[in-house]
Structures are given as structure tokens and as C-alpha cells.
């Protein structure tokens, strides 16, 4: 009886993926405890965030992909309208206009777009029966450009690039021609020097520091320098949990959010990093497998994009913290402190599980 109920409750949960998420979230709590200066308050707060996010995951996993397909357009239109509202009435914090006050709480419409964007494009290609015609790609490119431009204007460069890439993944998986890809790449490289010559000196300086933080050790480069010292001094096996000097002695900024990977790296070393990379790889491989087994154009494009988007967040974050990518405020998925991005992530994983577990119903 109870086992039946259990089975019914978790019918749409993918046990394999869930186990991986569980390990990642557990890691998050441990790292957070150390990064927050051993604050149990932070742990409780994040545990609550996790509870909310996992509930969202469960709910979404129980919604069939067909239903998701039907709301894709509505979500997208809503997302764009909210982004326009942000541009007009949004509240400014830290010099950027990202939040919208809706009376009882504040929302960040760009988070919604992280899911709505790939859903919209997947729906678009599914409704065009997956034919990779040039017209379709031009329309899709426009659908992608509108929200990206709005988010870039907030300004939130990091998020806008990541949303652009999530849309790009759909285009790529839908069969965007190689010729076009190659052409775009070449023209981008070609325009670079021209673009560079058009910049002011101070703008150039800013970009140089973005790529070489040592030029401004006390200003903009401080974060990266301290993070790299933390990672490097972690060595092969790390300094041990709660014993990272960079972390505990306040050298690391934003160490519970965007720079939490430096804390992890310092305390668990190269070995820990490899384990974390492996865990992320397994999650990505599982996601790609779900995509490859998906039975409709909509669900396979969506599953593929969500999975690759998870990858880009992980890669960009670890890349910026370890100094091979410029610092754009992107959290480490599943590990960083914060509720909003965790909920969005779990929403994505919920969709993956929904696609995987509703498969047979479609076949019937």
C-alpha cells in the first residue's frame, strides 16, 4: 500500500538524475557552511530554498510535455512583457534595473526567460515540423534577439549572453547549417579589430582588466586574484573543510554566491574539483541521453537546450573563478547560495524528468 503510494508519488521522478542532484545539493550545504563563516542561519535559509526548488521540480515533472508545449508561447510573451515592464518601471539596485516590484514581492523576469526562451524556440521549430529552412532560422533569431537585447540593456551582460546561448542551442540542435555557423564565426573574428579601434581608452582598459586582472589588483581584479590564490593554494587534496585560509580570513569576496567554487577548490583541492566536474558531467550526460530518447521535436530540442544551458552556467562560473573567463556575475549551478537561480534550475530538471517519464504515454 505504502510502497504503491510511494511509487505513484514519484512516478515522474528520474531516480538517477535525482540522486545526482541530491549529491550536488548536499555538497552545496557543506561548502556554504564553511563559506558563510559557519552560519547555521545560512544553511537553514538555503535548505528552505532547496525545499521550494524541489517542490517546483516535482510539480513540473508531473506536467506532461504536451501541456508545456501549449504554454510555451504564452510564457514567452509574458516574459517579454515583464522585461519591457522592468525597463520602464523596474527598481534599480547596484546600478542595474533587473527587478520588478509586483506588490507583495519582487521578481526578476530574466530568470523566467531562462526557461521560456528555449521553450519558445523548441515550440517554434516543432510547429514548423523541424524543417531547417533559412526563413525559420531568421524568425527564430529575431525571437531570440528581443529578450536578449532587453536583458543586455538592464544591464546584465552575463545573463543575456547565457540566455542567448540557450536559444542558440535550440537553433544548433534544430539543424542550423554549418556554413552559417562558420560564417558567423569568421565575421565575428573579423569585426573584432574594427570594434576595438572604435573604443575609448578607458573602455579598452576595462576590457583588458576583464581578461587580465593583475592590471588592477586592488580594484576590479581583486576578486579574481584572490580566487586564483585560493584555488592554487588548495593543492592536490585541499586544506580541508573549514580550513581554507583565503575563505576564513575574509580574503575571498562573494564567497557564498558567485565565488563559492573558490571556497570548494581551496578546501577540497584538485581531487575535489575533479569529483565535482565528474558529477556535473554525469548530470549533463544523463540530460543529453534524455534528449536523445525524447519522442517529439519539442521535447528533444527543449531537453537538449536545458541540459547544455546547465553546462554553460557551470563552465562560465568555474571558468571565471579560475581566471580563464572574464568575471560576469553567474552563480555556480546547484552549489551557490540563492533561491531564485536554484528554483529556475530545478524547473529545468523537472522538465527533463517530465520528458523522460511521459515518453511511453506518447508512444501509446
Amino acid at each position: 500500500m505504502i510502497s504503491k503510494l510511494f511509487q505513484h508519488l514519484f512516478k515522474h521522478i528520474d531516480a538517477f538524475l535525482m540522486t545526482c542532484l541530491f549529491f550536488a545539493l548536499l555538497t552545496s550545504l557543506f561548502v556554504l557552511y564553511s563559506a558563510s563563516g559557519q552560519s547555521l542561519d545560512r544553511i537553514y535559509a538555503q535548505a528552505v530554498n532547496m525545499g521550494v526548488a524541489l517542490s517546483v521540480l516535482w510539480v513540473v515533472a508531473n506536467i506532461s510535455p504536451q501541456k508545456l508545449e501549449r504554454v510555451a508561447l504564452i510564457l514567452y510573451v509574458l516574459g517579454v512583457l515583464l522585461l519591457i515592464a522592468v525597463a520602464l518601471f523596474g527598481s534599480i539596485s547596484h546600478g542595474a534595473r533587473r527587478w520588478l516590484n509586483i506588490g507583495f514581492t519582487q521578481i526578476q523576469p530574466s530568470e523566467l526567460m531562462r526557461i521560456a526562451m528555449p521553450m519558445m524556440l523548441a515550440w517554434f521549430f516543432a510547429s514548423r515540423e523541424g524543417k531547417p529552412s533559412a526563413t525559420n532560422f531568421i524568425v527564430a533569431g529575431l525571437l531570440l534577439a528581443i529578450p536578449v537585447a532587453l536583458i543586455m540593456k538592464q544591464p546584465d551582460l552575463g545573463t543575456s549572453l547565457l540566455i542567448a546561448s540557450s536559444g542558440f542551442y535550440v537553433l544548433f540542435l534544430a539543424g542550423l547549417s554549418w556554413k552559417f555557423l562558420a560564417g558567423a564565426m569568421v565575421s565575428l573574428l573579423g569585426f573584432m579589430p574594427i570594434f576595438w579601434s572604435m573604443l575609448h581608452d578607458y573602455q579598452r582598459k576595462r576590457i583588458e582588466i576583464l581578461f587580465d586582472p593583475t592590471q588592477d589588483p586592488l580594484g576590479a581584479g581583486y576578486h579574481t586574484i584572490q580566487a586564483i590564490i585560493a584555488i592554487g593554494s588548495g593543492g592536490a587534496t585541499g586544506k580541508g573543510w573549514l580550513n581554507g585560509t583565503q575563505t576564513q580570513l575574509d580574503f575571498l569576496p562573494e564567497r557564498t554566491t558567485d565565488f563559492i567554487f573558490a571556497v570548494f577548490s581551496e578546501e577540497f583541492g584538485f581531487l575535489g574539483n575533479m569529483l565535482l566536474l565528474t558529477l556535473f558531467s554525469i548530470i549533463i550526460m544523463r540530460g543529453l541521453m534524455i534528449a536523445s530518447q525524447a519522442q517529439s521535436t519539442f521535447s528533444r530540442l527543449l531537453a537538449g537546450s536545458i541540459t547544455l544551458n546547465f553546462f554553460s552556467y557551470a563552465f562560465v562560473n568555474m571558468g571565471m573563478v579560475s581566471g580563464i573567463l572574464p568575471v560576469v556575475g553567474v552563480p555556480l549551478p546547484l552549489i551557490s547560495y540563492g533561491g531564485t537561480s536554484l528554483v529556475t534550475l530545478c524547473l529545468g530538471f523537472g522538465i527533463l524528468m517530465s520528458i523522460h517519464t511521459h515518453k511511453n504515454l506518447v508512444a501509446n
Binding site: 544548433f172 539543424g175 586564483i228 537538449g304
Partner: protein, 649 residues
């Protein structure tokens, strides 16, 4: 059909090919990360290890000097001094127990020090330095300095300590500082002041130290320094000096405070004296007091237990938080309420048979004088404290109009004095009962009899000593309510500029001068022969307007006589006394409450007289001499037998 299926399979096949390409890209980029990690953590490990351990740039906070607290004559009530402390950073020490044992062979480490260290250790992080010994003398400091090399992770630091040189005197008004705890941190975070407390480990916890925390603390400075592996500063790169906290100067005089506190003897109670024209608090007594120095470095559990569990409750800030029934001290305000409502204006008078009954009821509301006072008008009713007169007046006015009038005198609401919580959370607002209040509180209707006893300040009515003093000040000032405040000036420690805190008019009760005159006359007669506090006014050399009061601690049944000799001392009535002087042009208004002191005129009155004598004439009471002879028994009233009138009110 066949073509469609073929098309579908082709599409799926192509999709899988694209997925494969994506997976390859994922793999390559993760491999790039892995390569980057191996470069940083394996190949360059030594380089970054050195960077992490050696030269690091750190921001070191420079703690500002905390402002002083001074009385109106510049006598220091709170100041700072430098002292050496011995501090341990647990993360840098291999064996904590062993290290402490070795330290104790060099300098004395008491079990109290160990306990305190353990307590702080539980509240802090591994990398925070925690004091194991405070207040090292020069010899101890030198002894340790010589052996410093033996103790990695143990530092000798010079720190500022807070000290209250007058000890127990005025401790409830000065308050104290203590170590910052989690709740303080949360408050600081909410108010956005957390960065200013980097490096500070103390914060105002009560009294003026808490209310004026912002001014006293100052602004933390910063030094950007290069530090080495042991955390020693190698080189200062840049420096922003701290701004010391402001000094606060009180309106109170420490000598007057001493006289007032001494006058209480062994009695518990409270006294608040206010300048009615400015609202400045001249004296603020809560007896018994405690030594605030005990709290600065964390109070030990024995001392805490002794203070906290004492029946005398020395930690309670009585003027602010102690609530008492006002008793007969409420009568002048009831009288004024009646006169302003057009009731009882002279020549109206009653014949007092010694009790009051409600129409159609048999219950007798007794006067303190069983035989009655005879013919009494409103002025005489105040002077002789005639209960019967006020029973009838309260009844005729009704509870609502009575309470709404006296509320203007500060009863039933917070004064907003500048002590303790800035938000006024810790002040008790007292209680002015109304039918709505009773319905809310007890789910019961209001009975007429309850209005009757409000007329003599009994029943549900509760006041704090501060409220009573403030009400007296408002009356003395003919209805103009000045906001009570402890601090008269704030002195910038940097520029030395003194800034006066301006008097604030809180409320203006519109009163008819004739009515005020009648009440004031009644109160002046209280201290003249025939009044209930005639001995208090005797040979004063200035005129005093006053009112005595008695508040029951336990209820007495109908037909039962109050027998004070057979009672537990803590069940005796509270004695109350309000006064202002000189009556023609008042510069001091006060309220005194002596817990279980029985009669306002005989125990509370003499305390008020000593305070007024010093404040107005500079006279130091003879009791000071008695103190030297160690003959103080505590019951100052027992020495002279007061006339019969004064035993009651």
C-alpha cells in the same frame, strides 16, 4: 505514412548527431577546466601556497575611541583606558589545552578566565582571536613578550577597555556595554552599520550606552596593510584614520545622584527629578543598583546569578519599567480633570461621612479616615487627601472623560526618554484603564465601582515613576509638556564643539489658569501644617507643592483592617510622593516611590526633601555624616514619630 516515418527517423538521427557534437564540446571545455585546475593546483601549487601564506593585502580596521559620558559638571561617569590582553587564535594553535596550561605558568590564568574563554570560543570562529587574559600589568606583559616565540598563535594586544569610575552610582541611567552577540550582529546588519563595527567587539547594551550607541561609537578607520604568514603587519599601504565617538554630557549632577541614592538607605524604589521648564532629567534613581563594570568583559555566572535571582531585583530599571498604582498622587490630576470639565468648582463642597456608596448599592468605599473629614471643598480635598470627595468626582465624570484628560499628562503612554532601546521597546507605558481595554483584556464589561477607585489612583491604573515625575513636571509647567531627556549636550571629540540638545515641547494641555491655581494651592497646603506632608515642608526655606500617596501591594477585604505590624515586609504598602519647588517658579519636579515604604509623607517625602534641598540650596543632608558613623539602619522614618495626619493620606 512510410515517408513520414522515414523523415522522422532521419530527423532523430540527425538530432543525435548534433547532440554528439555538443557532448564533444562539453567534454573539451570541461577538459580545459581540468587542465586549468591541474595547472593552478598541481604545477603552480607552491607559488600560490606562498602567496596565500605570505604577503597578503589585508584591510585592518582601526577602532575609534568610544565617547565619554560626563555629568553636568564634567565628572566622568564612563571612560576608556588602555590595557594589555592576551589573545589566542584557536586555528593557529596545535593543542589549545596545552597552550593555555603553558601560558598559565607565565601569567596567572584564573578559572574565571578559562570559563570566559570557553564561552567566547563557542561563539566565535576558528580564525578569530579570543582573549584568555585581560588587564595584564606591565610586568606580566613583559614576561610574556620575552617568551612570545614559544607561543605561535598567541598575541599580546593593547586594547581599550570601558570603565565606570563611580561604580554602582546611577548605573541604571548610564547602562553598560558588553561583547557583541549574534542578536547585536543581526541588528547591525539590518541597520546597515555592520561595516562600522569591523574590529569592534563591544556595543552599548543598556541605558545611555545603548541609546547613544551611534554617537558614542564613532567611525571605524581602516589601514591597508601587507601581512605575513603569522598575520603580522609588514607594511602599511594606506590609512584612513578613525573618527572618535562623541562625548555626551548629562543634565544630571553626580553629587545630587549620590545624595538621592544615599537617601533611600536600604529601601528599594525609584526617584526621577525633572526640570519642568526644559524636560532635563536632574536625577534618575533605581534602587538597589548594580556595578556596571561587571558586565563589560562578560559577567561571570556567580555574579549574574546573585544579581538576577535577588529578591530586590537590582537589574530592573524601575523608573522606566517598574509599574505601580499611583494611589493618592493621582488626585491632583483627577481634581484638575473635574475643574476643567466644569465640575466641583468652589464653593462646591461635600460633607464626608467617611465612606462613599453608589446609588442603590450597599458597598462602602471607605475613606482612609473612618470618621470622615467633615465639610470638604476641592482644594481641601487635595490637601487632606479626602478619598470620599474623589470617589464621587470620578463617578460623576465617567471613566472615559477622566482617562482621556489625564492622558495629556503622560499617563498610559511612553515618554520616549533617551535611555535604553531607541525604539522605546523597553519603556513600560503604564496603564490607563478604559471599558474597551477591559473587554479586550478580560472579556468582561466595565463596572461602575471600578471608575470609583480610579478616582483615588487605585484599581487597574498603573504608572511608572518616570510617568509620575513627568506628570508632576507638566502640572508645574502649567500644562506644557517638555519631552524628558537625560543628555543636555553632545560634544564632538574631534572639534571639541558642544552641541546643545534642544528642549522639545511634546504636548500642550490647554488649562484654565484659575483651575491650575486651585490645584496648586491644594498641593502647597500639603506641605504646610495640617497637610499630609507637613513635616516635609517644615523649615524648608522655599515653598513646596506636593502630594503624598500610598499604593496597596495586596488587596484587603471589606471589613478587614490593614494591620501593618503583622505583615510580611514585602507585602507592606508602597509609599509615593510627588513634589515641585519652588512652588511659585518651579525648577525641579520629582516623583519618589519607596517600595513597601508604607506612607508617602514619612518615607518618600524626606528623600524628596533632601534632593530639593541640595538642588535648590546646595545643602548636603546630615545623613551623610550618619553614614560615616555606620549607624544607618535603613529605616529613616522610624526615628521620629510623625503626627497622626501623616500616617495616612
Amino acid at each position: 505514412m512510410g515517408a513520414e516515418l522515414k523523415n522522422y527517423l532521419h530527423e532523430q538521427h540527425y538530432f543525435r548527431f548534433r547532440l554528439g557534437v555538443a557532448a564533444l564540446v562539453v567534454f573539451c571545455l570541461f577538459a580545459l577546466l581540468a587542465f586549468r585546475f591541474s595547472y593552478l593546483q598541481i604545477k603552480q601549487y607552491n607559488h600560490y601556497q606562498t602567496l596565500a601564506e605570505n604577503n597578503r593585502i589585508s584591510l585592518v580596521p582601526i577602532i575609534p575611541n568610544r565617547g565619554l559620558i560626563l555629568d553636568k559638571n564634567g565628572v566622568i561617569l564612563a571612560h576608556n583606558f588602555f590595557a594589555y590582553t592576551l589573545e589566542i587564535t584557536p586555528a593557529k594553535v596545535k593543542n589549545l589545552e596545552e597552550t593555555i596550561a603553558e601560558i598559565s605558568s607565565l601569567v596567572e590564568v584564573s578559572s574565571l578566565d578559562r570559563k570566559r574563554f570557553k564561552k567566547f570560543r563557542e561563539q566565535s570562529h576558528n580564525f578569530e582571536s579570543i582573549p584568555i587574559r585581560t588587564h595584564l600589568n606591565e610586568i606580566e606583559a613583559a614576561k610574556f613578550a620575552v617568551n612570545h616565540y614559544r607561543f605561535p598563535g598567541v598575541e599580546i594586544k593593547s586594547r581599550l577597555f570601558r570603565h565606570y569610575p563611580l561604580g554602582k552610582l546611577g548605573s541604571h541611567m548610564i547602562g553598560y556595554i558588553g561583547r557583541i552577540n549574534d542578536r547585536d550582529l543581526k541588528n547591525l546588519e539590518e541597520s546597515g552599520d555592520l561595516s562600522n563595527y569591523k574590529g569592534s567587539d563591544h556595543i552599548g547594551k543598556s541605558g545611555l550606552e545603548q541609546y547613544y550607541e551611534k554617537q558614542l561609537h564613532g567611525t571605524t578607520g581602516f589601514q591597508q596593510v601587507e601581512i605575513d604568514a603569522d598575520g603580522h603587519a609588514v607594511r602599511v599601504l594606506s590609512s584612513t584614520p578613525p573618527i572618535p565617538g562623541d562625548n555626551i554630557i548629562l543634565a544630571a549632577d553626580s553629587k545630587l545622584q549620590e545624595i538621592a541614592e544615599t537617601a533611600f538607605g536600604n529601601h528599594r524604589g525609584a526617584l526621577v527629578a525633572i526640570n519642568p521648564k526644559t524636560g532635563e532629567v536632574l536625577s534618575y534613581v533605581s534602587q538597589p543598583t548594580f556595578d556596571p563594570n561587571l558586565f563589560v568583559d562578560g559577567i561571570d555566572s556567580e555574579s549574574w546569578k546573585a544579581l538576577n535571582e535577588s529578591l530586590d531585583k537590582p537589574l530592573i530599571n524601575r523608573p522606566l519599567r517598574g509599574v505601580y498604582p499611583p494611589g493618592s498622587t493621582f488626585k491632583p490630576f483627577v481634581a484638575l480633570a473635574g475643574l476643567e470639565a466644569g465640575k466641583r468648582a468652589p464653593p462646591y463642597s461635600i460633607h464626608d461621612p467617611g465612606f462613599f456608596t453608589l446609588p442603590g448599592k450597599s458597598h462602602r468605599y471607605r475613606d482612609w479616615k473612618p470618621s470622615g473629614h467633615g465639610t470638604v471643598d476641592i482644594q481641601k480635598a487635595i490637601t487632606i487627601s479626602c478619598d470620599t470627595f474623589f470617589y464621587g468626582l470620578a463617578m460623576e465624570m465617567g471613566i472615559e472623560s477622566l482617562t482621556s484628560f489625564v492622558r495629556h499628562f503622560g499617563f498610559g503612554r511612553k515618554s520616549g526618554i533617551d535611555i535604553d532601546n531607541v525604539s522605546g521597546k523597553s519603556e513600560n507605558g503604564g496603564l490607563l484603564p478604559t471599558p474597551e481595554w477591559k473587554q479586550r483584556r478580560f472579556k468582561q464589561p466595565w463596572f461602575p465601582g471600578e471608575t470609583v477607585i480610579v478616582g483615588i489612583g487605585q484599581g487597574y491604573t498603573l504608572v511608572t515613576p518616570l510617568q509620575l515625575a513627568q506628570a508632576t513636571a507638566i502640572l508645574a509647567n502649567n500644562g506644557v509638556a517638555m519631552k524628558p531627556r537625560m543628555v543636555s549636550q553632545i560634544e564632538s571629540a574631534q572639534s571639541g564643539k558642544k552641541q546643545m540638545t534642544p528642549p522639545v515641547v511634546q504636548d500642550r494641555v490647554v488649562l484654565h489658569p484659575d483651575n491650575v491655581e486651585i490645584v496648586k494651592r491644594g498641593m502647597i497646603d500639603v506641605t504646610l501644617p495640617g497637610g499630609t506632608a507637613a513635616s516635609v515642608g517644615a523649615n524648608a526655606g522655599y515653598s513646596i507643592a506636593a502630594k503624598t500617596g500610598t499604593a496597596q501591594v495586596i488587596g484587603i477585604k471589606q471589613n478587614e483592617k490593614y494591620n501593618e505590624s503583622g505583615m510580611n515586609e514585602r507585602h507592606l504598602d508602597h509609599a509615593l510622593f510627588i513634589a515641585y519647588a519652588p512652588a511659585e517658579d518651579p525648577t525641579i519636579a520629582l516623583a519618589v516611590i519607596v517600595e513597601n515604604g508604607r506612607h508617602g509623607g514619612s518615607t518618600a517625602g524626606p528623600i524628596a526633601r533632601k534632593v530639593m534641598d541640595y538642588y535648590l540650596l546646595g545643602k548636603v543632608p546630615a545623613v551623610e555624616a550618619a553614614k560615616d558613623n555606620k549607624q544607618l539602619t535603613g529605616n529613616t522614618a522610624a526615628t521620629t514619630a510623625p503626627p497622626e495626619e501623616e500616617l495616612h493620606d
